[in-house]
């Protein structure tokens, strides 16, 4: 039975939009309006040039008041675009917004049909279906869910740091989780940044310090998110704190324990220095690490491996901060919004054996070179190669792993600029001849072209050609003892062999190794390339398809520091929008259980892709969490008892729509006029 409020009969208003020429150019809108006017319960049928405009909306509102309409159908564009607009208009007119049905006669009819007669017939069929359907619509309430004011930021590289600071400065309490023992991410490893040649640590450490000292930020370093549950505004997150075996609140970072360690010198490849130096089992990643707390690696510490160590670290610490009995800690937090800023991984150059990485000692990845030229790196900034020499010629190979269907198809955006930067730094440190081998120079940002000009004037050799191989085969005596780069200089038009002492591979950026695991945990999507997927590439770059979860920085796609910071700010702003509104409105088209029909068979539990269904053990029946439900309809179709229904997609609504489509009132599809 159509749902009318008590004694009021159905009074339907039908509006068809011209959309300028988009609809009216193909469909005879007047004819459709005329046809709709004659259908049952239709009180008024109008056509208008732009229904979504203010006058168009006012037209509806006026009719609701004056003609006492209680159902509205608008035939125009896609609901994705304007369903919300019209629902709001209907509500402003004094009617429940869900007594509205929208018909898409633009994307579904006029834009895909070049036969006007057939298009008009189709528009009439769809209009009729909507009119039948809307008769069965019921009043629904919009659901509101409150937003917890706290936020979680996952990943404390430059993007995570900036997002956390923005939120904290806005007065929100932020938990910042970082997997490594220190924050700073990849940026902390860089020497200088392009194009200003600012020292990365100099511009980063004030921000790191601000994070440390901010009363609104709770920094959980050396920690990982383990479980995420809940829904927008109400996330329940479990975080695992890995044991440092150091009491963080007591350690002041004096590093006496490292000095005193029974290992006289480091034996384990130092991760921060990209394996170019060695560290002891007790270590701090770099001197300005935040928090300034050491960490013990149980895989290499003698005490853990054998149980019989002198533990000089314990005795030398006058604050008693070393604690071998420290256990992993689990922390549960409630937050309303989450920002993922988990960063990227660099392409592993071992995957391209043509360049000899791992085979020839003097072939380096760009990150290794960043550490090499850095004053607090393994060689204190002096360019000493693995075999002890100083390079007199250096070859920098662009696009390693990028722009290549055999490895990563995309351009990694930052490598041209950082290759230029490294060229400059290497020349500055060594006075060597520096060659950059590139396919295209991508210098699109602010002052980037100026930087390229400066490099050209420094007499860096720019050879346009993608390097095919780095070899130690010497074809001439002058090539003995060198690494020879074979390349076609495409601009001059000749094949060249360039012998160098040092090869730098400009490795590309790719998703972190565990990006898929992370995205599953947070219930967001990844693109085919493996980076986190934004809601819209142009208009919503930091939102995801999961409400309340935002992404920022290189985890969304390769980008440089200014863009990462910009996105982090944007993500924080989006989070603030939710938090400061205090509540979020949910679509009421959720599934619900008609409990009298539910047998508690649990068929629906496992099939919900949003884990919105649980079993109420007391009642013995299924329970749907409306906030998690996205209205996909899977459970509705699956329930063997028909106990699950869906608002806005009730059986009577759907069947009446089908009846409307199939109704045979002598309309044909061959373009014969009706």
């Amino acid at each position: 039975m159509p749902d009318t409020d008590s004694s009021h009969p159905l009074r339907i208003g039908f509006y068809i939009c011209h959309c300028g020429h988009n609809i009216a150019g193909t469909i005879d809108v007047a004819s459709v309006a005329h046809y709709a006017a004659a259908l049952p319960h239709v009180s008024v049928a109008r056509e208008y040039k732009y229904m979504c405009s203010d006058p168009g909306q006012e037209l509806i509102q006026k009719d609701i008041r004056d003609l006492e309409l209680n159902r509205i159908v608008v035939a125009s564009c896609s609901p994705l675009l304007h369903e919300h607009t019209f629902r709001q208009a209907v509500e402003k007119g004094g009617l429940n917004p869900f007594f509205f049905q929208m018909v898409n006669i633009r994307e579904d009819v006029s834009w895909v049909n070049d036969n006007p007669a057939a298009a008009t017939v189709k528009a009439k069929d769809l209009a009729r279906a909507a009119i039948f359907r809307v008769s069965h619509h019921r009043a629904l309430d919009k659901k509101h869910v409150s937003i917890h004011p706290d936020a979680l930021v996952v990943g404390a590289g430059i993007a995570g740091i900036h997002a956390a600071l923005t939120l904290a400065n806005a007065g929100k309490k932020v938990t910042l989780v970082e997997r490594e023992p220190t924050i700073g991410g990849h940026m902390a490893m860089f020497d200088k940044t392009f194009p200003t040649l600012d020292c990365a640590a100099c511009i980063l450490t004030p921000k790191m310090s601000a994070v440390r000292n901010h009363p609104n930020i709770r920094l959980l370093s050396y920690s990982e998110v383990k479980v995420v549950g809940g829904y927008v505004g109400n996330y329940k997150v479990t975080i695992r704190r890995k044991p440092r075996y150091i009491k963080e609140e007591l350690c002041v970072g004096c590093m006496e324990c490292i000095e005193a360690c029974v290992y006289k010198e480091g034996k384990t490849p130092d991760e921060f220095n990209q394996g170019l130096s060695k560290r002891k089992p007790i270590y701090i990643p770099f001197p300005q690490a935040t928090p300034q707390v050491v960490v013990i690696d149980p895989a290499t510490c003698i005490e853990f491996k054998s149980g019989h160590c002198k533990k000089t670290c314990v005795s030398v610490c006058d604050r008693g901060a070393v604690d071998f009995s420290q256990k992993e800690e689990t922390i549960d937090i409630d937050v309303g919004t989450i920002i993922l800023a988990t960063g990227y991984a660099t392409f592993d150059p071992k995957r391209l054996p043509y360049y000899g990485y791992g085979k020839y000692p003097n072939v380096y990845s760009s990150l290794e070179v960043e550490r090499l030229v850095n004053a607090s790196g393994p060689t204190a900034g002096e360019l000493i190669l693995r075999d002890g020499r100083h390079p007199k010629t250096v070859g920098i190979i662009h696009c390693v792993g990028s722009r290549d269907r055999n490895t990563n198809r995309w351009c990694s955006r930052t490598c041209c600029m950082y290759s230029l930067k490294l060229a400059h730094l290497l020349k500055e440190h060594t006075e060597a001849e520096v060659y950059n081998f590139y396919i295209d120079i991508r210098a699109a940002g602010k002052s980037y072209e100026e930087f390229y000009d400066k490099l050209l004037e420094e007499n860096i050799h720019f050879v346009r050609g993608r390097v095919a191989e780095v070899t130690d085969w010497a074809a001439r005596p002058s090539e003995e003892g060198k690494l020879v780069i074979r390349v076609e200089d495409t601009l001059i038009g000749v094949v060249r062999r360039v012998p160098v002492d040092m090869v730098v591979l400009a490795v590309g950026m790719e998703p972190s190794a565990d990006a898929q695991d992370v995205r599953r945990m947070f219930n967001i999507s990844c693109s085919t390339e493996g980076f986190f997927l934004e809601r819209h590439p142009k208009l919503a770059p930091v939102d995801t398809f999961t409400d309340g979860i935002f992404i920022a920085g290189a985890c969304q796609g390769p980008k440089d520091i200014p863009d990462s910071v910009a996105q982090a700010g944007a993500a924080a702003a989006q989070a603030l929008t939710l938090i400061d509104t205090g509540e979020v409105e949910l679509e009421p088209n959720t599934a619900y259980i008609a409990e009298e029909f539910c047998s508690g068979c649990k068929s629906c539990l496992g099939i919900c892709p949003y884990t919105a269904i649980t079993r109420d053990e007391i009642k013995g029946k299924a329970f749907i969490n409306e906030a998690l439900c996205k209205g996909c309809g899977t459970c509705v179709a699956a329930c063997p008892s028909g106990a699950i229904r869906q608002h806005l997609f009730e059986d009577d609504q759907i069947f009446s729509e089908i009846d409307g489509i199939l109704a045979d009132d002598n309309l044909t599809t061959a373009g014969v006029e009706r």
Partner: protein, 301 residues
């Protein structure tokens, strides 16, 4: 598993030492071979320069013959093609037949005209792959009677066994032969030109180009202190072995390196008499053939 042996046009002529040593090794390792019935020339690189579809048809005839020689255990037939070019052409034909509907249609029609059908079950294998992966390198190592100490081998794979359809090894830095050679007790020399083309038929057509390519290979192998080059293709072996004096004369080099087939090397380690391995057919035998029963193997200094 009986492999369908496909000698190709070279193995009874310039590559005769390859056939003889390959057959001897297979006998020793008890790997059953059956020569593919009435096999025809694969077409190599020359045929496809005239007509590609006919080239596919030519090669596909061999695959079609093999398709109808089922294994007693029901497994798919496997052609063993020792020559790199044959291996590549047969594998390429199989690949195109499986992935390109147009090729398959044209070639199948042509085969029908000669009374044959192609089913696509046959796999194409190279002896390096079969010995190391099917038979097993550990089993080979156990059967070694004369560890070939003193040999510093530059393993030369050539190009077409690893490119473009390298099912069993890396297209630029393969290691199958190196691992085999190490298991036989010798030392494998690390050098960057394992798969750098020898020029193929260029030594017979544009000789200057062919010579230059081989000169680079031979010089580098010598420089890296290899005392023997092992190959797995008759044309590579021919190119590397037969022109050393002329290369020396033309470019003023002093190259003098024995070039043998890896199967010959295997055979020596396994204790097969040198005569059966056609060692004497090489221009520079790396060792003096000793009377049967008392093997003395000398590294060519």
């Amino acid at each position: 598993m009986t492999y369908l042996y496909f000698p190709g046009c070279s193995l009874r002529s310039t590559g005769r030492a390859y056939e003889e040593s390959l057959l001897a090794v297979c006998r020793k390792l008890e790997i059953p071979l059956h020569e593919l019935d009435d096999w025809n020339c694969c077409g190599a690189t020359a045929y496809v320069s005239i007509d590609e579809t006919r080239a596919f048809t030519l090669a596909a005839r061999n695959l079609a013959i093999a398709d109808h020689l089922p294994q007693p255990d029901g497994s798919d037939p496997q052609i063993l093609a020792p020559c790199n070019a044959c291996y590549m052409v047969l594998a390429k034909t199989h690949h195109f037949m499986e992935s390109n509907a147009e090729v398959r249609a044209h070639v199948s029609t042509a085969l029908h005209a000669g009374g044959m059908t192609y089913t696509g079950q046959t796999r194409v294998r190279h002896p390096l792959d079969v010995f190391v992966n099917d038979f097993g390198i550990d089993r080979i190592a156990k059967k070694v009677v004369h560890p070939l100490k003193g040999f510093r081998v530059a393993c030369y794979y050539g190009c077409q066994v690893v490119r473009p359809f390298s099912e069993f090894d890396h297209p630029v830095y393969p290691m199958t032969m190196d691992r085999l050679v190490t298991a036989l007790g010798a030392e494998s020399v690390d050098w960057p030109m394992k798969t750098r083309c020898c020029g193929g038929s260029l030594t017979g057509t544009i000789q200057e180009a062919g010579f230059r390519l081989n000169r680079a290979l031979l010089k580098e192998a010598t420089k890296r202190k290899a005392n023997i080059i092992l190959t797995c293709c008759p044309l590579c072996q021919h190119n590397l072995e037969c022109y050393q004096q002329r290369i020396n004369r033309r470019y003023g080099e002093t190259i003098n390196l024995p070039v043998a087939y890896f199967t010959q090397f295997m055979g020596l380690a396994l204790g097969i008499p040198a005569k059966e391995l056609a060692i004497q057919r090489l221009f520079k035998p790396p060792l003096s053939p000793a009377p049967a029963g008392k093997q003395e193997i000398h590294a060519h200094a």
